[in-house]
Amino acid sequence: MSELALRLASWVTGRASREPVPRDSAEEPLSGWRVWQVVESKDGPALASWWVSTLWPARRALEAGCGMHGSRPAVHHVCGIHAFDARDEALAYAAGRRERPMLFARTPARALGIAVGRVSGWGRAVRHTRGWRSQYAYPYDLYLISGDRALARMLANRYAVETTPFSLS
């Protein structure tokens, strides 16, 4: 079976089809990079996951949810809250998939802004070669790629994290 077929099979079944991985424990939260859309919500501007219609709650952790594994991500599945090790990979993820139509996806063009930032992850986590998936996550800081100072101020007040208007050029 090809590598892609193996990955698809494990994704569909959610079963561990590979060798077990080592287990570890830590006290320091994981740190990674994500890109969010900033969307209007009933409580004002909110962070939304790029392609999944998940709104990030303010001042409390986002908890993962999987129909097969609950909130604790399984090793050989895709569940959990994802983050990249490198900022550029997070940006490429958002940029590379903008043109593809996806069911239930928000349209970035309708977002109030776009934010990139570091995110903390904790609880059960799975370390990958270029990032991680975790049970809980919360933004650590935010940089607005699009959006003005007023939007940055509203996000900072809502999520209680530093939010900076930012230009990639």
């Binding site: 570890d24 090793v75 994802h82 609880g123 990958h128 070669t129 991680w132 900072a156």
Partner: protein, 45 residues
Amino acid sequence: MADIGQPEREIEVQPVEAPVPRELPVEAPEPAPRVPSPQPDPLPA
């Protein structure tokens, strides 16, 4: 789904305190500029 590579290990991350801020960190206010004290009146001769 985000391609974050192959799984390497499971980690149980239990921070002492969840990294969820309750309030925006407040920067220390800048010290007020010192106002020069008025020169004392010269003593009468």
